[in-house]
């Protein structure tokens, strides 16, 4: 089996954003442009995460999914604030292939069962946000690491798999956005806890980090954001698009790199993995 590299795009309204440590959200550009670029560069799938997910923005998300899915012929997962079967129906109908659910599943685990029975297990990804406790255990959180649940992430993942989840997306909240590398013990233990595929997210800052989360962490797929986004931004003029009244674009104007994060293209990642004998789909030419 080949390991998948999955760019993750955090969406706020019509924009791709990135949370930068202690600085809040910054606009990076238009998600469709990034998505198309990653598709052409050999991304294996894409994840859109609606990070504000308020009700009135749902329609614009559906539109964004449709414009993306018109041009992009790889699987698209959509997550963020999906609370009901109707929400899932909306995003699948717009052209998403899979959904990632977190809070709604934790509040009502039977939601996983209901969704898997209706749409098939392979459509339902259960997203788990993990925070390491001082005693070394990992607790599941919701709302971008703000709300604690008291659940042990590994026990919760096993339960989710038993209820019909098709994949687990495990995010290390501690590592996310830092570029310090993935939390290898977390990912490895997760991979050993369930027999469904595990997607690792949070902390990737270099190609070596991606390599080790596959080889040592036993991840089936790796989701990355900043390093790809920064590579795209430095090679494209993102300021041509119109961001009028949409938020803070100071970051874009500044032209600064993300700290601790090596800008990398999809091609460079795939080339490195193939050269180090990690099975992955080569970039199409």
């Amino acid at each position: 089996m080949t390991c998948r590299i999955i760019p993750r795009l955090d969406i706020k309204g019509p924009n791709l954003v990135k949370g930068i440590h202690l600085e809040g959200l910054r606009i990076l550009g238009k998600p469709e442009a990034f998505a198309k670029h990653y598709y052409e560069q050999g991304a294996d799938e894409l994840i859109y995460m609606d990070i504000v997910a308020s009700l009135y923005e749902r329609n614009s998300l559906a539109e964004l999914i449709s414009t993306t899915a018109q041009k992009i012929f790889i699987p698209l997962t959509v997550g963020g604030g999906l609370r009901s079967i109707k929400d899932i129906e909306t995003v699948l109908g717009a052209g998403a292939d899979k959904v990632a659910i977190n809070t709604a599943a934790i509040r009502n685990p039977d939601f996983i069962k209901e969704a898997a029975e209706k749409y098939g297990s392979s459509t339902i990804i259960v997203s788990i946000e993990a925070i390491k406790k001082s005693n070394g255990s990992y607790e599941a959180f919701t709302d971008n690491g703000r709300e604690e649940t008291g659940l042990d992430v590994f026990e919760w993942a096993k339960q989710a798999a038993a209820l019909g989840a098709g994949e687990i997306l495990i995010t290390s909240v501690d590592r996310e956005g830092t570029g310090f590398g993935f939390d290898l013990p977390l990912v490895k233990k997760m991979s050993e806890s369930v027999s469904i595929p595990v997607i690792a997210l949070g902390g990737g800052g270099s190609v070596e980090h991606i390599h080790e989360v596959i080889t040592k962490g036993k991840a089936d797929a790796v989701s990355i954001a900043s390093l790809l986004h920064y590579d795209f931004i430095r090679n494209h003029d993102m300021l041509k698009a119109d961001y009028s009244d949409e938020g803070n674009i100071d970051y874009l104007k500044s032209g600064k790199p993300f700290s601790n994060i090596q800008p990398l293209s999809m091609k460079e990642i795939k080339r490195f993995l193939i050269n180090t004998d990690v099975a992955c789909r080569p970039v199409e030419v």
């Binding site: 089996m1 899915a69 012929f73 790889i74 998403a96 292939d97 098939g120 459509t123 098709g166 080569p282």
Partner: protein, 223 residues
């Protein structure tokens, strides 16, 4: 390419039909998402997509009175594509959550990947999700098939836990190896193509199949 041909994309409740339609339209065909038997009959080709469970999909086809029109289309000689669960439904029966009868257009059955560890002792992840190679069986080429422009050993995108085992090995177009298990990843019987992978989710290589479908409809050609 401007074929202006109508492709019926059979809608029986679930799955992402949007991408199938977009893939058709990329090559000038009009994708018609429909559950109407009358509409399906007027189309030039039929695609049976699908994700989810076999038994409930069959129930849904029956409830929507789609079984006779699907069989008619498959036997009519029109291009007919079964994708993923749509491929599996063409078989006689499936072992998914019990034993269910399928459409019986292709002789054979649908079985699940074995989870037990093989000689390598590596746990097999089920579902099989991701990119994997498709290879023609020994002494078989893809000339004059729906895969005629696809290079051997291309990567395609898979999402499934079950796979089709056709009785007649000669209809197998490609095999794929997952863990240590080799399975039929596509078959072609006359006008009927079944593929376990998703051509509309397999990048530009997967789209080749839609391109071949479009040129086939234009030329009444060589498949």
């Amino acid at each position: 390419m401007h074929s202006n041909k109508k492709i019926a994309i059979i809608n029986y409740g679930v799955g992402n039909l949007f991408s199938v339609k977009q893939a058709c339209e990329t090559f000038g065909m009009t994708g018609v998402i429909t559950s109407s038997p009358e509409m399906i009959e007027t189309c030039d080709a039929v695609i049976l997509p699908g994700v989810g469970a076999f038994g409930s999909a069959m129930q849904s086809l029956e409830k929507n009175c789609l079984v006779p029109v699907i069989k008619k289309a498959a036997y009519s000689g029109k291009p007919f594509l079964g994708i993923c669960l749509g491929m599996q439904l063409l078989l006689e029966k499936s072992h998914e959550f019990g034993l269910f009868d399928g459409l019986g257009i292709i002789k054979g059955e649908v079985i699940r990947f074995k989870q037990d560890k093989g000689p390598s002792q590596k746990m097999l992840r089920i579902p099989h999700i991701g990119w994997n190679r498709i290879e023609p069986p020994l002494n078989r080429t893809w000339n004059n098939s729906y895969l005629k422009t696809v290079p051997a050993r291309s990567f395609m995108y898979f999402v499934h836990s079950y796979y089709a085992v056709p009785d007649d090995p000669d209809i197998i177009l490609s095999n794929t190896i997952y863990g240590e298990q080799k399975f039929c990843s596509s078959f072609q019987y006359e006008n009927i193509l079944g593929c376990q992978f998703h051509p509309e989710k397999s990048g530009s290589i997967g789209l080749e199949i839609y391109k071949t479908l479009a040129s086939e409809l234009d030329s009444h050609g060589s498949i």
